[in-house]
Structure formats: structure tokens, C-alpha cells
Symmetry: C2
Subunit: 447 residues, 2 copies
């Protein structure tokens, strides 16, 4: 089945909070979503912009590859550079935001959006996909300073034992009740696998766990170690459906507490042990290594430690699976706003970087699958649920948090749709293991 | 389906040719194959070996990780170091061969086997698998001179335009009639795909072509460029079964002449054009790039040229597939005897090296499959056919040629069985292509 995913998510322009200190009194919050077809001018009649501002806005759009976007300056004047009809209007509520955007667009867009200094009239996802696509078309090869800059970036948020603990705590320990509002019922916070595009999220997360287990051809009685187990859904699934015993590691305290409670209540505590510890501290020997959604948090300066750990804990006939967000190149840092506000220390590896830390131990890569469109679909479901729970999220946190998380979820969907992010599932085995599935057909047989 | 492949091929010890200049008159040629169960001493009563020879033979075996092998020295004395029962006996017919073997075992084994100075009593494949496995267990990390030595190796047999022409001519232009003796009826000289281990070679080569076409989701009317097309089977298959038009490049004159004749006789000359030219000279723009069994002949110092070529000829919505022998690490040269006698200029890339030449152009890797056991199975079929045609091959060439090719085919099977060689199929696309199959299930649907 071939399917084109354009931009199916209806992003919702969040109401802007009144904010002191702007150069111009902010307009009334505008509820809802305006599509490109009704982008008629509104509000007070435009004042004349400074020439420098107009020039700056045009430069900003040129730098982004001339996306079909109209910038509404603080004075009300609109600026566009693309010949194409604008699909959204980006409204700047003060002059400073334009200058900040021009200086560091990738960081400042998120900052301004979160604080309500910038609003999007039209579909947020459409905007972000259009900007990713346009920017890719004018992307220049990395200059000589890109690699050292990236190294500094990795070092600043380095995932040492203590650094990882801090970085993970900031995202995953903000409250299980929050995640229960918009994840599936088992709290699987990684890319789902949709057997068909019409599958629902609950079904797709179950299908993902089945997909992973089949790719690993788990057999009853085997031992599995899981590095980075989230709220424990996969570990429990493997034990329940494939008869294996699992040791599952995680450094998020909230998640481990939750997972242990689930194992107890489901009578699986004897076969699934949840340990609040770092992947580097895994002890024992196992038939299978599995890690779903942890590599993004390891960071390239710690990949060799991960490779060494896998080698140390895997039996001579062992095999493994790594599931991770990735990128087509190698070395590009994730969006700086995401690194600052959402996922400190996160980095999506290129496939070259993944193979590079498996090579020293001569692991044999058996299978790689790229599921990026499935992550876009997963995010579409999360966003819809998040939007439906918006009032409760606002009561748990505050309006800025709502806007930030909507931008993070929408921006991630856009990055997967535009091909800026990938989702790799990599299956590997010790080099001399010949007891491997003869073909992959078994993965696709109906159970 | 899970299947263990041990060593199913019956290697046949080739008759040794009488040879002048040995230190000891050679025994009569021994026909046929002796299995390990009847490795009883034979021939004249053993003489006493020099202490240095005994020591050298033991060192040789130690260096190979103490495989369960017995060396029979020229004087008749037998040397073994493994505690395990020997599975084969390696008989050396002169003293010089031992010294040469000790100095350069990977090269000299093939040289001595080809010239009949060395014979294997027992199963040749079992021997080679055992040696590969034992040697892997004692393999040391590459030293600081490994990389420069490999670079020199690549340079000596560099696949420049002229070097490629020479290297390819030496292997592929030795006569289509020879290959017709032991390949399938369409002369597909690359790894087959066995839907089940019981499939025959003819079926498996057809299945491989179908597998490649499905992975590329070819659509009628599309344009395909094939780099390194052999005798043309895949190009014709794509045009016949998927309605595409194909330009297929190859620098083997014999193969191109054959392929053109086939296209004419099958009425496909209007849709499949065979060009006797190098991949670097591909002109035009195409929806699909495909290359099956050529990357092994490109050489790592020319990978960036290949990447640039693919980028140059692929349309904005294009995708591609590369099928190549590979290795788990990167940088290890292929067996030196193979490089000298069988495949000058050949090098099996690590997956890291493949991703590295796709990355600069931001190609998105969608799928990697490792089919190494399928190549072992393919070689098992080729060997059986080759053995059946032995008399005709000997009349076409000479007995040394027969032994060399049997060793090459058997050694390749051993390398795939022991996990020393891999077979990668890599599917990739331009980064922004969203018209990709939703899952891989369609590849496995019955047609």
C-alpha cells in the first residue's frame, strides 16, 4: 500500500496570553484556527513599518528558502517574499521578537510561540512542514565550524551518569497523570506501528510491540534486557506474549514506580524486574538486548559506551534491536529550542553513527526499517488527544506549557513529514549466529 | 521460520597434478572426498619431521585459533593442536609450502591449493568454516598500520575508469559458456533469494528479482537506471513484469553483447537499453537507481563518486536499491588470494561505509536486509552444478582453474556461513519522498 502523507494534522493556534512589556499593546486573543483560504486582513489598520524591519523580515524568509508564509509585523504591515499564495500568517506582537527571530530563528520561534509573542494564523503543522521543506532546499553543506560546535553542544548537555539523570528527570518525571491524558492506555511514548493508516493509536502501539518481538524472534525461556523501558509496556508485553524473562532499566523514577506497580498488579513481577539504573550499569548476561526510544538520549559522545555495554551483556548467540529517532545526515544538532525546553541532551543519530558503534564488536546488522511516517501518524494521534485535553493540561501547568507542548508535538510531526527526522529500527546479532529467521515473511504473518 | 545452516556443501578434494621441483615425489592423485570419519593414515610410513617444521605447523594452527585440523607434513608426520577430533586433514606435498603458509597463510592456502601442492582430505567447506570461526575467536583489533595498508591495497588495484575495465574483464569476460555451465538459466551471478530453504536455484533467482522490484515499488512507465547489470536478467525482468523502461550499464563486453541479444530476441530492445559504459558515465535522469552486485567492485576510494553519480541521476522523487556483499566491520581487505586470483579490486563494504556515501546527499535509508545465509545457499547450488560440470570446465581451461574456482566458491560459502561476509540490500530515497510503501507487508504478499 502506498500512501501520501501531506499534512493531516489540524494544528490549533493557541490563545495568546496578555503580556506586559511589549512595544505595542497586544490584540485580543484570537481563538481557533484560520486556514489559508480566509487569511483576510483583520485588526486595526496597518501602520507603516520601519524600513529596517521590513528588510529584516524579508531576509528572515529568504534564509528559510522563501516559504509561502506572510509575516505580520508588530505595526500590522504584512511581509511576504514567496510568489505562492501564503498558507499561514505569522503574527509578531512586538518588535523585539522580529529582531530575535532574525538572529536565531530556530530557537526564537519556539520561545516566542511559547510566550505568546508570536501567533500562527492558519495551520501550524502546514507552516512547519513548509518551512522545513523550503529550508532544506537552500541548506548549505556544513561548514568547518559545524563539527566543533556540535561537540560543544553535546558537551554542554552531556549524558554522563549524572547528566542523564538530570536530563531525563526534566522530561519524564513531570507527572504520569499528564502523560495519561494523551498517550495510549499503556503509556507507550515512542513511535507506534500502524499496520494500516486507518488503525487507531491503541492498536498501533500493541502492533509496535508485536513488531519488535517478532523482529527479535523471541523464544520462551529466553532472557531479555531492556535499556530505557519507559512505563514498562514492552517489557510486560514480551513476558506475557513471548514467555521471556526481562530485566528492564530506566533512570526515570516516576516511570519505574509506575512500571513496578503494573508488574505486581498483572502478576508478572516474577518475570519482569524493573531497575532504576543507567544502561551503563546493566549487569548479567542475556539472550536479547532491546532498547526502544533511549538512543536519542545517549548522545554521540557516549555511543561507544553503549556499544561496549551491549557487547558485555549479550551472550555469544545473542541478538538485539535498537529503535531510535534518527537523521539522514550525521552530526546535525536537534532544534535548539527542543534541546533547551523539551529534551535537553537529545540527539538523533545518523544510521552511520549507529553502525559505527556496533562495528567494533562486529555485530552483524540484519535489518533496518525506517518508520518515519509512522511517527508522524503517532504524533497526529497524540496531538488530537492533547488538544482534547487542553483544559486539563492548562490546569495542571499553565498556558505557556500548553503552547510549548503543542509546538513540540506539532514540530515533531512536521519534522517526520518533511523528512528531517527518521525513525530507525535496527536488528543486529553476534556475527556467527546462524539461527536467524530465514526471511522476514514471518514478521508479516497474521498471528 | 528459523533454520540453522551448518555446512551443507560437500567440497570435493580436487586431484592434484604431478608437479616438478617438489622436495618429495608427489603421491598419486587421490580422487574424491574423504570425510572426517575415515581419516586413517595412508601412503608411505611417516618420516620424522624437522623440529622446526613441526614447530612451524603448530604455530600456524595457533595463529588460526587452534581449529580442529590436522596438518600432514611433507614427510608424512601429522601435527594437530586442537583437543577436538580433527574434521579434516590438510596434506602438504612439499616443504616449501609449509614455510610459505606460515608466512602468508591467507594468500598461500589458495595458491598451494590451486597448484595442487596442498590437498584437503575431508570436507573443504567444513575446513574453511572451522578456520574462519576459530580465527575470528582470536582476532585482534586492527593495528595502526591496518588502515594505511588497506589504502595501499585499494590503490594498487584501484577501480579508476581504466582499472575497473581491466579488473572486470579478468573475471567476467572469461566466456559466457563457462558461466552457463553452473549459473541459473538467466545467468544471475549474485545472491539469490530463497523464499524457503527448499526452493531451487532457478526459482530463487526469479524470487530475488521480484524481491528487488517489490522493495523498489516499481510502477509502470517509470524510468530505471541499473549500474552493473551482468547478463541483463534483472533489467529485462523489470521491463517485462513491472512495465518500466531501463538503461542498464556494464563494462563487461561479453555480458553486454549477451544482454543485447537477449533483449532483441525477447522483443524488449525498445524498453531496455544496454550500454557498455562505466557507472560514472551515466547520463540522464531517472525515477529509480538500482545496482545489484556492483558495489563490491567500486572500491572505497571511489564511493564518493558513486554517491555523487546517484545524486546526479536521480529525480527529486527518486529512490534506489544497492545490493552488495559486505562485512560487519569496515576496512578489512578481502582475502588476498581472492584479490589476486579471482576478483582484483574487490572490496566488501561495511554498512557504515555504505551509509557514509549516501549521507552527503541526505538520502534517506528506508530498509536494509542482510541475506548472508541466502548467499551461502546460492553458493551451495553453484558448487553442486560446478562439480557436476567439472569435466567440461577442465576441458575449457585446465585442472588448476578447476581447483581455484572450487576453492573460490567453497571459500565464499564458508565466509557467508561463518559470518565473515554479509549480503546487504539497502533501499533509499530522496529525503522528502512521502510516497513510500506504508509497511513492508506488500513485499511478502503472494503475487
Amino acid at each position: 500500500m502506498v500512501r501520501t502523507l501531506s499534512a493531516p494534522v489540524d494544528g490549533k493556534a493557541a490563545p495568546r496570553e496578555p503580556r506586559a512589556g511589549g512595544w505595542r499593546s497586544p490584540p485580543e486573543p484570537r481563538e481557533g484556527n484560520r486556514r489559508s483560504e480566509n487569511l483576510s486582513p483583520s485588526g486595526p489598520p496597518p501602520q507603516r513599518a520601519l524600513g529596517a524591519e521590513r528588510w529584516l523580515a524579508r531576509q528572515l524568509l529568504h534564509g528559510l528558502g522563501d516559504p509561502p508564509v506572510r509575516i505580520v509585523l508588530a505595526c500590522g504591515e504584512e511581509v511576504a517574499v514567496s510568489e505562492a499564495a501564503p498558507i499561514v500568517r505569522v503574527v509578531l506582537h512586538d518588535r523585539a521578537t522580529l529582531w530575535k527571530l532574525a538572529a536565531r530563528p530556530r530557537l526564537e520561534f519556539g520561545e516566542a510561540y511559547g510566550e505568546g509573542r508570536l501567533e500562527v494564523e492558519g495551520n501550524l503543522l502546514d507552516l512547519l512542514v513548509a518551512v522545513y521543506r523550503a529550508a532544506a532546499a537552500v541548506r548549505k553543506p556544513a561548514g568547518p565550524l559545524a563539527a566543533p560546535a556540535a561537540r560543544i553542544g553535546h558537551w554542554l548537555q552531556s549524558n554522563t551518569l549524572a547528566g542523564s539523570k538530570r536530563n531525563i528527570h526534566l522530561h519524564y518525571d513531570i507527572g504520569n497523570e499528564f502523560y495519561e491524558l494523551w498517550l495510549d492506555k499503556e503509556l507507550v511514548y515512542t513511535c507506534a506501528y500502524f499496520p494500516s493508516p486507518s488503525a487507531g493509536l491503541e492498536e498501533a502501539q500493541q502492533a509496535k510491540m508485536e513488531h519488535v518481538c517478532r523482529k527479535l524472534w523471541l523464544r520462551p525461556g529466553e532472557t531479555v534486557v531492556e535499556a530505557g523501558c519507559g512505563w514498562g509496556a514492552l517489557a510486560l508485553y514480551m513476558a506475557r506474549h513471548f514467555g521471556v524473562t526481562v530485566k528492564a532499566y530506566n533512570i526515570s523514577h516516576e516511570q519505574v514506580v509506575y512500571a513496578r506497580r503494573r508488574a505486581e498488579s498483572e502478576g508478572l513481577a516474577g518475570r519482569v524486574e524493573f531497575l532504576e539504573d543507567d544502561y551503563r550499569n546493566i549487569r548479567g548476561e542475556f539472550d536479547v538486548f532491546v532498547s526502544v526510544g533511549m538512543l536519542e538520549h545517549v548522545g554521540p559522545n557516549h555511543y561507544s559506551e553503549l556499544g561496549r555495554t551491549i557487547h558485555r551483556v549479550l551472550r555469544p548467540a545473542g541478538r538485539g534491536l535498537i529503535h531510535s529517532i534518527g537523521q539522514n545526515g550525521s552530526g546535525t544538532l536537534i532544534n535548539p529550542w527542543i534541546r533547551r525546553r523539551i529534551f535537553p541532551g537529545a540527539y538523533p543519530p545518523g544510521l552511520r553513527e549507529i553502525t559505527a558503534f556496533l562495528e567494533p564488536w562486529r555485530f552483524s546488522v540484519l535489518d533496518v526499517e525506517n518508520l518515519r511516517l509512522h511517527y508522524a501518524e503517532t504524533l497526529r494521534h497524540w496531538l488530537a488527544r492533547f488538544d482534547a485535553a487542553e483544559d486539563r493540561v492548562r490546569r495542571m501547568f499553565d498556558p505557556t506549557f500548553v503552547r510549548m507542548w503543542r509546538l513540540y508535538l506539532t514540530g515533531s510531526a512536521a519534522a517526520f513529514l518533511a523528512g528531517e527526522l527518521q525513525l530507525f529500527q535496527v536488528v543486529f546479532a553476534r556475527p556467527q549466529v546462524n539461527e536467524i529467521p530465514w526471511t522476514r515473511a514471518g514478521v508479516y504473518e497474521n498471528s
